[in-house]
Subunit: 429 residues, 4 copies
């Protein structure tokens, strides 16, 4: 657990809280980053297949975003303005409306929340309860929605939940698609629970779920299942909250992860890649009829990060004005899939997970997956695991990663996997 | 409620959630800001006595911070790195250690939390519960700690609490100093409640309070009372959490608001002005013996905003390397106090509130206070109210405001007050 | 809903709360009862197939219990003694130990709780939480455990839950055997939920369930399923609480309902027929290693009803000194089953429910079941429905009902069913 | 803690749960009781100054109640009838209406709840929440309302609360009259908390309190204070619940403890002495406009104990048909007060507590009070302590105790006190 790498400054060990985590896996000091590569203080470069956990879908330091942001700062553009009206907020909203909402037939209002995904989720849960007058939010096995008390109640991970130090309230847990294996239709189970007036499951305020579970093992809900949840929500007077914080903003191939499904989410928490450049920024999309907030009923000092408005606008204009980016993601997703298949072929029982450029391979063991990632890092690739037991090697490369760099990263990964599995095999013998 | 001002873009009304608030008071579109002044799209400038609710203690777009941030961006410095080690984080930590902690004899660890004050408070509450094995956090009348479910439980405001849509848990409410008037020693009441094993108040995990209550009416705890709370916490095995999000970072005259008191807070949530430039950034200071987090037990995507590390470092170096800044704050605090006294003299029963450069005047009525602020805005001053009934006109000018600008703002305010009170008097007659 | 029957005293309508319920179905005034029959103020007699919801397993006013109780009262025996030691308590405990516990190889301690089933359940839930240091009690669909806030949280019925007026805490709901139809093995689902560290189901303090669900539709857990739950509880460090309030005390053929299963319940709430004569009395059986209560940590004024000790002792001596009673129950259970089969044969899709003398027929509709019971009452039979939709006609005759009386009651029931179904058929045509 | 007395049957130690409590103080086996005296298995008689914690206000085995009950049983009167209409229930309701409600100008409905005080309190809390749509019940320091989860949340005692094994919800604690000494007007503090919209105290569903706190140290609310609470409840739209379980049924001199105050409680939980003879019985009185229960929305197997209806009716007819009993209580209350004054005179700083025949003396130390009671028991007097630290010696003699027996008991007590204090003094020297 100690930062043994000589490139790591001792101040971290001395002064940063034990809560720090990613830095323990990647124990070097990073100094710059561009596109899909990060450089550390020794000059070594790494291909980044983590991308800030999907916060850097457009890569590091996109030149157009940089230029716009530097210009904004140079001109004394507003850096912080609480939730006052600013020209950059107007420009962002207009662009978001024009390029994202309108083409998709959506008329959601945009709520600027505190600049974290968990804050967007908290706002969604509060609003759903306010709208319905019910408190029970249905969340799912392996779901991850954040670490503040409201969102944490909806998060499945036992370690994270344990950090609360007290009981968590207001959430009922249901099985995600596939939670009980392929032969059990969890949608039907959920429906039976809700239809039974003596099931003990209180009438729901909302269904809260990720179309693809980012931390929970890249479980991708099928079109049929997600649409079924949508129908159930409507039938039981509950709002549908699709948490697109990790799966959205192009990660699954389209701007929203659910575009190919016939669902109308009432509330959509967004964060991570929303700013385009990795700046803190989050928002909640709200169907207009549910935008019943009173002024400041949910607020926060940093809602409406004006630097992020600048870069988010550039990102949308640059990547979502035509369908080229979606085509690129589709092609690159296939490259990723092929690479992961190579690893799956090495491990008996391994399965591919996810979709678009949000994919991984379940190697059946957290130890093995962790060892593969550690070895890959030594070889210059930043990559992490996912899943309840950390059993999935997960690729979250920037969506903008050039095909050759993508392939290079995959080659590192497959070679790390091969070596790891060889070692494991030898150890077992 | 509508944005009637012609300078306001219609996209806000059309697309931004009804939760928006400050923009309703200041209905113009801001385009740039520098020092203590903001400029709108019509070219009109405003003196800023709100300063992002104390997030801009060093003013807007400080030139040294701008320069450093632009250089960082130009050089492809890390924008987003999760909680990985970066050179900018190391530099921030070293500076914070050297200039802030060491001179004050503090050895707290620094926990990078999600970049919002509420997240720092949530982390503090979770940690206090984890450390003590108790769930009951004692919070105070008129306290404000944030809007996510854990922190919201500790927030007193009924409107904010109502937004939760469900019961809030884990907090017992106690009266702040002065809550029952000058003749009741609330510290003694609290002690009696805690000493009585049949009081029904469960053993506390922590006392959570603001040394000066920012949203609750600028109630400033006295040295004696705050030290008494510190003793009570120790006596009952509870942690002391001093929320310095609004009152800290120089606002009350010293870096921390409690420096002149003999207390050792175990946990200190910081946010707002921590980044120096208004960028989203928050941290929790933790006494080392309580830093028992497991890795990632509380985490978040945007913890460790590298842009903020850059500007926060510059802010500390620039303003906290010697005692000049504190002298400036002290002097300007007196200017503010004298200005508020002028208003107090106009209103029978009005009282001055707060300390340092966190001051206001309680005019006894939210309507009157609101009218004064609205009229001030027309005259080119951005200023807001505070308090349970919004009855306090609150000055949160940048600490760096030149004395003449400060006086100019105060002149606007006193003239707005005089006009408002004249109108009120006429209406009453 | 009004008491229209002329035999009903107007004071009830005028003065008794709207919460009253059974009296609405059986709107006459009862004046005496003996064995399996009740008599009303007009002299009409009714066969009782409800038996105080299984509180009168030995019938009304058993002559031996009456004699013993009258003698006790005549002799100024203790009526109320809080939980002081009395000769009647000693005699009850000795008899219970000798005739019930020892022959079954049980060494449970006996806790006298407030004289209601819900109080025994509350004590069990509290103790399980205290023993394990966990708060999460796993309860089941269609479970019924009482109406006070702790037990109500474990009760499934939406109407009952709604009466709480606030959220209920501390319980996770799981599907009982058969809750998802015959083809879904709910035991496996529960195991998967508990084994998955990211399921969001917190580590359980206890599993709380009825071996046969009395109010929930006479769902009888199989030997395999119940033993599986026992294994799961052990595996996950949870206590097994078998609520035998309605299913126990001979109702299912043996003193405890689970005697033929290889389970060792840690905690067993008992009430209803425990006193033998329908007097308020409840107890919690506790495996000795878990009897970690501090004195009075759970208490109550009426724990230890001395009148009930007298009759409970007589009941045990009279009915449980040899195996004759069990043989009688077995034989009568078959009579009941045969009678219910007659009804099932009249209704397409109807299914038999329950076991022992706790049986019913699911006629697929609460309206039909209710109509059958109403018509039966007109014909002199007291009988009620059960189930989430009240769709089960439930026979809870005294276990002591002579075979001919039992048959007579069944004949009334089948005739009521035939007439009801005929009417229904005609209406449908 | 062991039952060392040779008169105590070993089955208790072997088989009864460690939760047992009073029997530890009074370690002998009682066999009969009559009037104000109990007899143990060795033939020794004790004067009873505990009276089942006020459950035996009319003494043990009142001859008229005995006769009526024996006759009822002999005639096969209904013992258990769920909540069906019975002649005994009608007779009870008519008598209660005629002798209790009407003369006091009350038109409350009577709700038969599970036969425990805690169940009546749970019903009251649920109903207040249902009526107001709010969950927050305001309870008081040193209050005791029961041990099931809803009522326990309102109970102040830390040991009892700790038995819950989890957090308790839905209650805010306020200081009872005198909780902060004589110079602090707690009513004013409560009013300030409720009037402040940022106090963090949510709008109340109800105020729940005992006019005289039985377990909390015999704190008797003054007429002014209690009426003030009544006004506050009305002002804030909350129901007033006066828990008269221990203080009512004549204990304080009138049937209800609050008759001399100008308050109209909306809900009144009753239990303990309601049955007259110590049989389990409880009821909730409900002002008609709040009787909005749906049938069975709160229910319970033993609500409506028919044996208790018989004795309760006799008790009311015998003792409340004229004012003789009230005169007797008044006279005897003075005898008790004079006796306690004798003890108070022995202990510096001791104070008298309570009113009517619910009185005690605070000797300033639980150890001393306990020692006095233990010594009194040796001398043939059953008596217990009360208060947060068990510092009050409490006399709860049957209200029917003949004056000479009352005086004899007091003589034992004063002599026990004198001896104890002498021993204590010697030990201190």
């Amino acid at each position: 657990m100690t930062a043994s790498n000589s490139s790591v400054h001792p101040v971290f060990e001395r002064r940063e809280s034990e809560a720090r985590s990613y830095c323990r896996s990647f124990d070097t000091t990073f100094t710059s980053a561009s596109g899909s590569e990060m450089t550390d203080s020794t000059g070594k470069t790494y291909i980044d297949f983590l991308a800030g956990c999907s916060s850097l879908n457009y890569g590091h330091n996109d030149p157009d975003m940089k230029t716009a942001l530097i210009e904004h700062i140079s001109n004394d553009g507003i850096a912080h303005g609480l939730d006052m009206y600013t020209d950059t907020k107007a420009a962002f909203l207009e662009t978001f409306e024009e390029k994202i909402l309108k083409p998709r037939g959506m008329d959601h209002k945009v709520m600027m929340v505190g600049p974290t995904g968990t804050n967007a989720v908290e706002a969604a849960m509060k609003l759903a309860r306010k709208v319905t007058g019910r408190s029970n939010v249905i969340a799912f096995t392996n779901g991850f929605h954040g670490m503040t008390m409201g969102a944490l109640a909806a998060t499945g991970n036992a370690g994270k939940r344990g950090g609360a130090g007290m009981d968590l309230h207001g959430v009922t847990r249901m099985p995600f698609e596939g939670a009980f294996g392929d032969n059990i239709d969890t949608l039907s189970l959920i429906e039976q629970m809700l239809d039974n007036p003596s099931s003990g499951v209180d009438a729901p305020a909302a269904f809260l779920l990720e179309p693809v579970q980012g931390e929970g093992g890249l479980n991708a809900a099928s079109k049929e299942w997600l649409e079924g949840i949508g129908r159930l929500a409507k039938k039981h007077g509950a709002l549908l909250i699709l948490d697109d914080i990790q799966a959205g903003i192009g990660r699954c191939g389209t701007f929203f992860s659910f575009e190919e499904m016939d669902v109308q989410p009432d509330l959509i928490p967004l964060a991570k890649s929303l700013s385009g450049m990795g700046l803190p920024f989050a928002a909640l999309l709200i169907r207009p009829q549910y935008d019943i907030w009173k002024p400041a009923e949910h607020n926060g000092t940093f809602r409406g990060n004006n630097h992020a408005f600048v870069t988010a606008r550039v990102a949308i204009e640059k990547f979502w004005s035509d369908d080229q980016f979606q085509k690129d993601i589709a092609r690159r997703g296939e490259i990723v899939k092929a690479g992961l298949q190579q690893i799956a072929d090495m491990v008996p029982g391994a399965t591919l997970k996810g979709r678009g450029m949000m994919r991984g391979v379940d190697v059946g063991s957290g130890d093995v997956a962790g060892a593969i990632c550690a070895r890959a890092f030594e070889k210059g690739l930043i990559i992490e695991t996912s899943g309840a037991e950390d059993e999935v090697v997960k690729i979250l490369a920037p969506l903008t990663t050039p095909d050759d760099v993508l392939q290079k990263g995959i080659d590192i990964l497959t070679s790390a996997a091969a070596e790891t599995l060889e070692t494991t095999k030898i150890a077992a013998e």
